[in-house]
């Protein structure tokens, strides 16, 4: 990563060298000005002009140095973040199950920021390093003993700078963590204010906040105490150097072994060294943090997606091209075994055939693996044994985008993006014509409520936009899945949040769908299940029974049990 920015770094280093040269020259010019211009017979004007000229160069190089250092660091930051995001999008469901969103976010923000901080300091540090050496050499050449006296305390500045940065860091992290906890208390209190007000428990929550506020204060004050120990000490050391220079140097001048100009230039050199020494101390701990952050970032970048398309994918035959005239969307599960990570087996030797154009309901108790079937077909996970075929082709032989376009899935938890209603429906096909978007919205029973929104299809959704009800969200998700004309549609408990009085609308929509394409419905409402041509009842990791809903109800006791509580309501009504 850093290697790719090498040319930028080299230029940065060159600028830093030039900057050092000018910075070190200025105190020398001041000395010449005093000794020859004021105290001697040299030209005062020339010395003055030289100083001002050096100021112009020093200023320009200061600007350039900053620009280059920061520019390179920001470029590294930008590229790294782009790469990380793209990589994360390509990683499989298994990876995302195991990693929290917040954790991944912090790698893409805080960690990359740490790396950026360090990269930014690299050329500056190099310049500082050279400045320290150059100034020390100049001082030693001018007057060795005085130089030793002046410089003796300075390495300590470096050490203190490093210690300070290391000690204050945990306290600053403490402030951040406690602030985050405080934010959680505030956030949930505001979100749950009806509960708080309803029970009159304002005092309880005020006390909760007081605890967090005290914690934040504790860490913030700790950070300041650390600061109060180090900052004055870091300032004291060079001041003591100045005292020593005046004590010893003053007598040297009195004895005529040194000039006043040299004495003053010693002072200025010392002032010049403080900042670089502090920074070098800080860079060490910045480097440590950047290394840790870099390890976290590259551990993600080096993770290979567990699921990838083949190098030479098979292409699904177009509808109508198939010899047997059965249409498209035939799905076969053959001897499929599956478990999540190292968990208990979910599917054991599952066999299931879904004919083209058929509507099948998958029914089973919680944890029976019905949702897993929905996740295996689009290859969100791969079975560890067995085979899944779509229109006769093993899905592992298909290109991933092609497979996922052929299978439209509607999840139980509907995730919509902060974009307009239209863009959300057109998610898979951003260029879809308006009529198509409208058509699928009508199919999914969403057109009516969309038209009633303030801006219709242009209404913004999400965090800063309009928030839809659970049922409305699900209907949008169904429209989204339909737009791509998938061969197979999977509805994973997709109507659970729909208001029962509105469910008939969805059912109308579903009936419009079914018959046109293969539909796999995962549901526990009998009314929805009854829509299917056939029911596959999952139990013990395999299909325990197959048949029509009413047949199974009549013949299978376990099936009745699983549906029991849900089945009572509509029959009562």
């Amino acid at each position: 990563m850093i290697r790719a920015e090498r040319r930028g770094l080299i230029l940065g280093v060159t600028i830093a060298l030039g900057w050092t040269l000018v910075k070190v020259t200025i105190p020398w010019l001041v000395r010449v000005g005093i000794d020859r211009g004021i105290d001697g017979d040299g030209s005062l004007l020339l010395a003055t002009l030289a100083i001002i000229g050096a100021g112009v160069i020093s200023g320009s190089l200061t600007g350039l140095r900053r620009y280059w250092g920061f520019r390179n660091a920001r470029r590294v930051e930008r590229r790294l973040r782009d790469e990380l995001f793209t990589h994360l999008l390509g990683l499989d469901f298994g990876f995302h199950d195991e990693n929290k969103t917040g954790d991944l976010m912090s790698r893409a923000s805080t960690d990359i920021q740490q790396i950026q901080n360090f990269v930014m300091m690299l050329p500056v540090t190099f310049g500082n390093f050279i400045t320290i050496i150059a100034a020390s050499v100049l001082l030693l050449v001018t007057e060795p003993t005085l130089a030793l006296l002046a410089l003796i305390g300075l390495p300590l500045v470096n050490v203190l700078g490093m210690r300070y940065s290391q000690r204050v860091h945990p306290a600053m992290v403490g402030v951040q963590n406690e602030s985050a906890e405080l934010a959680t208390v505030v956030e949930e209190t505001v979100a749950g204010i009806r509960v708080v007000k309803g029970f009159g428990s304002e005092d309880l929550f005020a006390r909760r906040l007081a605890v967090e506020a005290a914690d934040v204060r504790h860490w913030a004050y700790t950070a300041s105490t650390i600061r109060s120990k180090f900052l004055p000490a870091i300032e004291l050391l060079p001041n003591l150097g100045l005292v020593l220079v005046l004590a010893r140097g003053g007598h040297l001048v009195l004895d005529g072994r040194m000039t006043i100009g040299e004495l003053i230039s010693f002072n200025i050199y010392l002032l010049l060294l403080i900042q670089p020494l502090r920074m070098i101390g800080m860079v060490v701990s910045f480097g440590q943090r950047a290394t840790a952050a870099g390890a976290r970032v590259s551990s993600v970048l080096e993770t290979k997606p567990a699921i990838a398309g083949p190098a030479d994918p098979t292409i699904l035959a177009e509808p109508g091209v198939l010899a047997d005239e059965t249409g498209v969307g035939r799905v076969q599960f053959r001897g499929v075994f599956f478990r999540y990570g190292s968990g208990a087996p979910v599917l054991t030797n599952l066999d299931l055939e879904v004919e083209a154009g058929e509507t099948i309901a998958i029914v089973g108790a919680t944890g029976s693996g019905k949702s897993t079937i929905a996740r295996l077909l689009p290859r969100f996970y791969d079975p560890f044994e067995g085979q899944i075929l779509l229109d006769g082709v093993d899905i592992r032989e298909l290109a991933l985008p092609a497979l996922r376009r052929a299978v439209g899935i509607v999840f139980e938890e509907t995730f919509l993006f902060s974009a307009s209603v239209r863009d959300n429906i057109a998610f898979a096909h951003p260029d879809a014509p308006r009529e198509d978007i409208r058509r699928v919205a009508v199919l999914a029973g969403a057109d009516e409520f969309i038209s009633e929104l303030s801006d219709g299809y242009d209404t913004l959704l999400g965090e800063r936009g309009y928030s839809l009800s659970g049922g409305q969200r699900q209907r949008l998700a169904i429209a989204r899945a339909l737009l791509g004309e998938p061969r197979v549609v999977i509805l994973d408990d997709a109507t659970s949040a729909v208001d029962p009085t509105k469910e008939h609308e969805i059912r109308d929509a579903l009936s419009a769908l079914t018959g046109q394409r293969t539909t796999i419905v995962i549901a526990h409402r009998p009314a929805t299940i009854a829509l299917a041509d056939r029911v596959a009842f999952l139990d013990g990791g395999r299909v325990a029974a197959e048949g029509r809903h009413d047949e199974l109800l009549a013949t299978n006791q376990r099936y009745r049990q699983v549906l029991a509580a849900a089945a009572t309501e509509p029959e009562e009504g």
């Binding site: 976010m105 934010a183 934040v216 004055p232 004291l236 001041n239 100045l242 919680t366 965090e463 008939h504």
Partner: protein, 596 residues
């Protein structure tokens, strides 16, 4: 140097002088308890400044009266003076930083507690008017930006200001003519600083938006990764993120460019004044109007004066943003509260009828939501409220629990107007159980104690047992001490509702207002929740906002709410045979549930 000095404020949030004055006076009032520490801190920092500035002045004495005059004793005295100045600077700075931080952090803690308390005391109507995000950002973004100011900015601001003023005064005392010459840099430095301050502010605002944009894209991309993959949309999302990320980069670069032309100006100004001090000062020394020591003192003082200039130009934005934040926070503290306890409020009786007379209600100055409602709910009666979304069912329930005050008319419980009742007794007698159980971070027991913070473990268990949920909770890995995580994420929807019902059980209210959940639960849990509700309702007055007509059917009476009025009321069978609005609703609902 680093990014932390960046700050900025939107043009429409920037305060004018009068407003700033108000904010400062208000802050001073809040600082009153700590004013001795605050004065100590400022006093110490003044001593620190004087000690720092004493150095170059002592160098002048050493050169003019020691070295030039050939007096080693004077030189030695100056050296000893310098040593004392250095030690005094060390000590005063050390204690000064601590005192300032102490005052600042105490002030912030006090502010956090006060703002939050003010929010808690607000009526629900306030939360309707104000977006949750805004309230949260007051307590986080706004106070945190003040926190950052306390951490780095304030000390630096005060130090820089003191050093700058102190240096100017010292230089003027040393030789005001030479100072005037050095001040020739003002025409360069001041316009540059003003321009930079503005540009840095604008760049910062762009960076802030860029960061927010990047973070929300990241969040959306990562949490929506499953949907993105399902629709094979990775390339488009990658590109879109690249654009947002690129915007952040450009904003950063704008800020880098601003600093990259401004820092050279400051740097050059510093060297220019040194040159002028040597050149013009040199001429004055040669003509005998000034001593060489004074030139030396000038050079040394000037070397320390330009860092503060550059710091101040950036810190100014930080201070402006902080005062804008403070103004917003004081506004929260000063907001008026609508539902308040009257002076001389009385306890509500333990039992009684709920009597609603000619009730009208609206949210703020919005359209009327309820009007002309007359209704008596007898003690122990169960009333269901049904009707289309937005008809006013939930509003009626909220007014019944005095989460809002009616616009006109009254609600009385056992003969006492709710507005005359003490809030504590009101919350004790009438409890609202919201739709979906809302859970806070903490254990299950903590969550039940939200209803009664003094409840013992036994009382909590008893409440769960009474509604038949104890077994279910004890089956969890840590039982009552199970951490529910954010929003109760570790529990199922049904378990969350059980906790919510247990809260009501522990209060043991006379009146229960239930807002039925719309989404269905898995069948097993559904029956436990229904059982818990049944137990909870027994022996109390119940008002249930029903979404399922099967629930309504089981109530003594059903009120149909439409357009803010009760259009029909009576038992289920009566309403069905009356063939009115309810009969229609019921027929539609039945059609929806029967298998085709």
């Amino acid at each position: 140097m680093a990014g932390w000095m960046q700050a900025g404020v939107d043009a429409d949030e920037r305060l004018d002088l009068a407003q700033t004055g108000q904010v400062l006076r208000r802050s001073a009032r809040m600082l009153r308890p700590y004013r001795r520490r605050a004065m100590l801190a400022v006093g110490l920092l003044v001593i620190w400044t004087a000690s720092i500035l004493a150095g170059p002045v002592l160098v002048r004495v050493a050169i003019d009266h020691g070295i030039r005059a050939g007096e080693p004793t004077v030189l030695n005295r100056a050296v000893i003076g310098y040593l004392f100045a250095a030690i005094s600077a060390y000590l005063s700075y050390r204690v000064g930083i601590r005192s300032l931080a102490w005052v600042g952090e105490e002030f912030l803690r006090d502010l956090r507690n006060r703002v939050f308390r003010a929010m808690l005391d607000q009526s629900p109507s306030y939360y309707d008017r104000t977006k949750a995000g805004v309230l949260v950002s007051r307590m986080t973004a706004d106070i945190d930006s003040l926190g950052e100011l306390m951490q780095y900015g304030l000390l630096m601001f005060i130090s820089a200001l003191l050093i700058l003023t102190g240096s100017l005064i010292t230089l003027a005392l040393l030789n005001w003519q030479l100072l005037l010459v050095c001040l020739l840099v003002i025409p360069i430095l001041v316009p540059a600083s003003v321009a930079f301050k503005r540009e840095a502010n604008n760049a910062y605002l762009q960076v802030r938006d860029g960061i927010a944009g990047t973070l929300s894209s990241l969040q959306e991309g990562i949490s929506g990764v499953r949907v993105i993959q399902s629709f094979a949309r990775e390339p488009i999302e990658g590109e879109r993120f690249g654009e947002v990320n690129g915007q952040l980069y450009r904003a950063h670069m704008r800020s880098v460019r601003a600093a990259s032309w401004y820092l050279p100006v400051v740097d050059f100004s510093g060297v220019l004044t040194t040159g002028l001090a040597i050149g013009v000062g040199g001429v004055m020394v040669r003509s005998g109007r000034m001593s060489l020591g004074t030139v030396a003192a000038f050079v040394l003082l000037l070397a320390n004066m330009f860092d503060p200039v550059q710091q101040l130009s950036q810190l100014f934005n930080m201070i402006q943003s902080a005062t804008a934040s403070l103004a917003k926070l004081f506004e929260v503290i000063d907001s008026e509260i609508e539902v308040v306890e009257r002076v001389g409020a009385v306890e509500l009786p333990e039992h009684g009828d709920l009597v609603i007379e000619d009730l009208a209600f609206r949210y703020g100055s919005g359209p009327p939501v309820l009007s002309g409602i007359d209704l008596t709910i007898r003690a122990g009666e169960r009333l269901a409220l049904v009707g289309p979304t937005g008809a006013g069912k939930s509003s009626l329930a909220k007014v019944l629990a005095r989460l809002y005050d009616p616009e006109s008319g009254s609600v009385r419980f056992g003969g006492v107007d709710l507005r005359q009742a003490s809030l504590a007794s009101l919350r004790q007698r009438i409890v609202v159980v919201p739709q979906e159980g809302f859970l806070f971070n903490g254990t299950i027991a903590d969550n039940i104690r939200v209803a009664n913070s003094d409840a013992s473990d036994t009382e909590v268990e008893l409440a769960l047992e009474r509604i038949g949920a104890l077994e279910r909770v004890l089956a969890l890995p840590d039982g009552l001490s199970t951490e529910v995580r954010e929003r109760g994420g570790r529990l199922s929807a049904g378990e969350r509702q059980l906790v919510s019902l247990a809260r009501a059980a522990i209060v043991n209210p006379a009146v229960l207002v239930l807002d039925e959940a719309t989404s269905s639960l898995d069948p097993g849990t559904e029956s436990i929740v229904e059982h818990a509700m049944e137990v909870l309702m027994a022996g109390r007055t119940v008002i249930v906002i029903a979404h399922r007509l099967s629930t309504a059917q089981r109530c003594d009476r059903i009120g149909v709410v439409d357009h803010g009025r009760i259009v029909e009321i009576g038992p289920h069978d009566e309403l069905v045979s009356a063939r009115g609005a309810y009969a229609e609703l019921f027929a539609a609902w039945e059609r929806g549930l029967v298998s085709p």
